[in-house]
């Protein structure tokens, strides 16, 4: 059963930041990339995705500009800022620690 990415605190932010680390993307592209990469194990809910994008923009982790999409349409493209890169590093480490701890409990060697 697919997991909603918002259920784990802060995880959605980290996933979005990771997605943007490959280059500027619009919101739909972010959702698709996450779904494809997780082989549809993760469902990205639009109702969480966009508020998260706006929140991170306000925090200065990502910045947006209007550009051309693949289909030649105007789309709002998000890009990682230096602050966002730092945040991504921090969240990745945090996640590794958290996942390690959970694994040690659930999957003892």
């Amino acid at each position: 059963m697919p997991t909603a990415a918002k259920d784990l605190h802060g995880t959605l932010d980290a996933l979005i930041l990771k997605t943007l680390s490959w280059g500027p993307r619009h919101g739909y592209a972010i959702a698709r990339w996450l779904e494809d990469t997780s082989r549809d194990e993760l469902v990205i809910e639009e109702g969480s995705l966009y508020p998260a994008l706006y929140r991170m923009e306000r925090k200065g982790w990502i910045e947006a500009e209007w550009g051309e999409s693949e289909l030649g349409r105007k789309a709002k493209l998000y890009n990682l800022t230096p602050a966002g890169k730092r945040q991504l590093r921090a969240e990745t480490e945090e996640w590794a620690r958290f996942a390690g701890a959970v694994s040690r409990i659930l999957l003892p060697a």
Partner: protein
């Protein structure tokens, strides 16, 4: 003019950028569309695909709203960040600008520092004395309750106080205070006089103060015979017991009775200004409770919550009326209430607010000066402004830059002003009269600092706004084309001239105020006090009732004291008197002279004194007719009176008062006696030199009534004229008194010179302050006039050169320039004189011997001002004549 294309782009970007809502709509619509395509590609039909795409959002409107809210929050953050960034930028730029013109900056900041510093210093005093609430719980509920008789507030008799306490419903509590001098006997010290306040058990709870140590009086201790407990003032406690909390339970001997110390109270509890060392329960005796005649209590009360002073006054008036009709002794008495705050600081409020107003004028003059400086500088900055405009700064942006410069300038001036204020407050406290309540608490506290910041910001607006508007406007008028010389020189000149007129008017008002007070002070110096104060020693003493219980014993003690003091080397003459002149204290008694119907309306109210022989010789009060008291005027001999000239003139006009009789005066043992006037002496001022002298009456000490002696607490001032400096005699004279009774201390020792000087101190202080402010205002105005004329000269250099090339003499040029400079001065003088007529009325009671429209002042001040203004414009005008015609024409 922008092209239509560019204009369209600007318009679109403005709208596009402004609306977060549209951005969110577009972004979400794009997402829905992409998702729909995805579903169609997977095989859904378009309508279903779209429905599923939208469905994935859940409540799409809510998502939209959330995003918009966050987006708008971000826009606000950015605007704020940008604003702060620009402010920092502007401030840096302003500092650079100010640093580039150190001369201008120094003059402007110093001018502001003088204005802000003086205003802050005066404010800190006004705040400490007048504005700050009294240090009691809900001080607005506290009132003084006076017995009112013969048009004056008086003290209250114990029986009346008790009736008030029983009957009044308006008060939460009502409590009496009586000031007393007690003799304190300690094992290790000479006997000394301490001031004591007798209060009821209700007194401290009424004020809402708490003991620093121990406790206050219980209701049980406020009973006759049980009141041998004492509360120390914190000052006395620190001086005598080094602030040791273990004093509670120790005993001290007051008037030969052991008292147990039960607590310590802050000196803030001293609500009637008696400056008490110790507090004892009032514990009325049955005789006191029954006495409705002799008034000696100061009564305070706390209004019940919700009761107004007017309501309480109404109730007390009714109670007073009832008592008056029931009791013979209360005839002619009524009750008056006054707010305690009003009683405490009311006398100082108007005086200090006048000073605050005067100092605000100085600040205004300073602001006007700085505005003038900025205007002159703004004219030179036309080019800079035009360049900034050309580089894309809008008018608002330029305006903001200029306002920031004013603000930075004001803050520099304000900071320097605080340093001035710090020294100013110290200087004021050092030279202030000694009896102003709470003055010692003035200083740079949080409120004062807030006030200083406030006036700093306010003055940056006052002096900065007009120059900023003018300078910013100039950039829209194509200054670059004019070679940066700036346009609108004529209008700017007019503004500057109006500013000069304004500061002349302001300083004229200040100087008129100062002039009126100086004239009053000069006239006051000419008032004869009625006695010769130099080389006169004075000290107060009081005989304890326990050992001096008859008029005879009191009289004998003072006779011996006077004799002992007279025998001391260095003493020319000596006498005792119950109240000395000039100290503002008086005791009144009313008598009906013989020949008039015995009715209260025929009574004459005298300031009475009890004196030993030799008083008039000692104080050099001239005996105009008749004789002084001597050894004939003893108990049992015909009763003798001495009156002053005012009493003689007003009581027996057009005839000699010598031999006139006042019947029915109580004698030493209470018997009625006929007293006749045996001497008429000169008028000596009682209440300071400003107040007219009242009728005065002297009793011979051996013939005065016991009630009078008791009312004066069997006290006398010992007055001695000495051959040398009287203040070096204290020990010697104390020893002379000790030969009569070693337990009697001398109290309140001062020379008569010092007493006269302190009676004039308040007036001198006001005069000195207002004069200082007037001179500062005058100097600032002179600087302003100089600046305007000098500016006029630089603006018209070529014109002046041309005139001189065409044959104008230097004299004509000077006249032209000075005429230009004096025009606003004359306008300012005319307007200022008009305003001063109205404003000087506020000085009313401070002015002595002249009206508030004193023609001498109103003639002299404009002349002085015009002369200073003339000098201030002649200096730059003479410089104009040194312009080389050729050089002037080249520029």
């Amino acid at each position: 003019m922008p092209t239509p294309g560019a204009f369209g782009r600007q318009l679109r970007s403005a709208i596009w950028k402004a609306s977060v809502a549209e951005e969110v709509d577009a972004e979400l619509a794009f997402h829905v569309e992409m998702r729909t395509r995805e579903y169609i590609k997977r095989g859904d039909d378009p309508e279903l695909a779209r429905a599923k795409a939208i469905g994935r959002f859940g409540d799409i409107q809510r998502v939209n709203d959330t995003c918009r809210r966050i987006g708008e929050g971000r826009e606000r953050d950015m605007r704020r960040a940008e604003w702060i960034h620009e402010l920092v930028q502007d401030a840096r730029y302003a500092l650079r600008q100010l640093a580039r013109m150190p001369g201008f900056t120094a003059v402007a900041a110093l001018t502001l520092a003088i204005g802000i510093g003086a205003t802050t210093a005066i404010f800190s005093i006004v705040h400490a004395v007048v504005l700050r609430p009294l240090p009691f719980r809900e001080p607005d509920e506290l009132v003084r309750v006076y017995t009112h008789q013969r048009g004056a507030d008086a003290s209250t008799a114990a029986a009346n106080f008790i009736a008030w306490r029983e009957q009044a419903k308006s008060f939460e509590r009502i409590a009496p205070v009586e000031f007393r001098n007690l003799t304190l006997i300690s094992a290790d010290r000479a006997p000394e006089q301490v001031t004591a306040s007798r209060v009821s058990a209700d007194y401290f709870p009424m004020l809402g103060v708490r003991p620093l140590v121990g406790r206050f009086f219980s209701a049980d201790e406020d009973q006759a015979g049980r009141g041998n407990v004492v509360v120390l003032s914190d000052r006395f406690w620190r001086e005598r017991y080094a602030g040791d909390s273990a004093v509670v339970g120790q005993t001290i001997r007051l008037n030969a009775v052991e008292h147990v110390i039960i607590g310590v109270v802050s000196s803030a509890a001293d609500a009637v200004g008696t400056d008490a060392h110790v507090w004892v329960p009032i514990a009325f005796t049955p005789e006191e409770r029954a006495d409705s005649r002799k008034g000696y209590l100061d009564v305070l009360a706390r209004l019940r919550p919700g009761v107004t002073i007017a309501q309480a006054q109404q109730e007390m008036a009714a109670i007073g009326k009832r008592i008056e009709t029931q009791d013979e002794d209360n005839r002619g008495r009524s009750v008056r209430l006054a707010s305690l705050t009003e009683v405490y600081v009311g006398a100082y409020r108007s005086r200090l607010l006048i000073l605050l107003g005067a100092v605000a004028f100085v600040l205004l003059i300073a602001c006007v000066n700085v505005a003038n400086l900025l205007l002159a500088r703004g004219a030179g900055r036309g080019k800079e402004m035009a360049i900034r405009a050309a580089l894309g700064a809008g008018r608002g942006r330029v305006l903001r830059q200029l306002v920031t410069e004013s603000l930075v300038l004001a803050l520099i001036g304000g900071a320097a002003g605080l340093a001035f204020a710090f020294w100013g407050v110290r200087a004021l406290l050092a030279s202030a009269p000694e009896d102003v309540p709470r003055l010692d608490q003035a200083g740079l506290d949080a409120t004062t600092l807030g006030f200083a910041l406030g006036i700093t910001l306010l003055s940056s607006i006052v002096f900065g706004i007009v120059p900023a508007l003018r300078t910013a406007r100039s950039n829209l008028q194509g200054t670059l084309r004019e070679g940066g010389r700036g346009s609108g020189v004529a209008t700017r000149d007019r503004v500057r001239q109006l500013l000069v007129a304004a500061e002349v008017a302001l300083s004229l008002m200040l100087l008129v105020g100062a002039g009126l007070l100086i004239r009053s002070a000069i006239l006051l110096e000419r008032v004869e006090p009625g006695f010769v104060p130099d080389r006169v020693f004075t000290a107060w003493m009081s005989l304890p009732e326990t050992r001096y219980d008859s008029v005879e014993s009191v009289t004998r003690a003072y006779d011996r004291i006077v004799t002992e003091v007279r025998s001391e080397p260095g003493v020319e003459s000596v006498a005792g008197v119950t109240i000395i002149p000039i100290i503002g204290v008086s005791a009144q008694a009313s008598f009906v002279p013989e020949g008039r119907a015995d009715d209260p309306s025929n009574a004459v109210s005298f300031n009475f004194r009890i004196a030993t022989p030799g008083l008039f010789r000692t104080l050099r009060i001239p005996i105009k007719q008749g004789r002084d008291f001597d050894e004939r005027d003893v108990a049992g001999a015909p009763c003798a009176l001495i009156i002053n000239e005012t009493a003689a003139r007003t009581t027996w006009p057009n005839e000699s008062a010598i031999g006139k009789v006042i019947p029915g005066v109580r004698g030493p043992t209470g018997e009625r006696q006929r007293c006749s006037v045996i001497g008429i002496v000169g008028d000596a001022h009682d209440d300071g030199l400003r107040e007219p002298v009242r009728p005065q009456l002297y009793f011979a000490s051996a013939q005065a009534a016991a009630v009078l002696w008791n009312a004066m607490q069997r006290s006398m001032f010992i007055v001695a004229r000495t051959t040398g400096d009287p203040m070096t005699m204290t020990k010697q004279l104390q020893a002379a008194v000790a030969r009569v009774d070693p337990t009697l201390p001398l109290f309140n020792v001062r020379s008569m010179d010092a007493r006269l000087a302190s009676s004039l101190a308040t007036g001198r202080f006001n005069t000195m302050l207002l004069t200082t402010l007037g001179v500062v205002g005058l100097l600032l105005a002179a600087v302003g006039i100089y600046g305007v004329v000098a500016y006029f000269v630089t603006q018209r250099t070529s014109e002046i050169g041309l005139r001189m090339a065409l044959g104008a003499t230097p004299g004509r040029v000077v006249r032209l320039v000075v005429g230009q400079g004096m025009r606003p001065v004359v306008l300012g003088i005319v307007v200022g004189a008009g305003l001063a007529v109205a404003a000087s009325r506020l000085l009313g009671s401070l002015v002595f011997g002249i009206g508030t429209t004193d023609p001498v002042t109103f003639a002299a001040v404009p002349l002085v001002l015009a002369a200073v203004a003339f000098l201030a414009s002649v200096v730059p005008a003479r410089r104009a004549t040194r312009v080389e015609p050729t050089q002037a024409l080249q520029t």
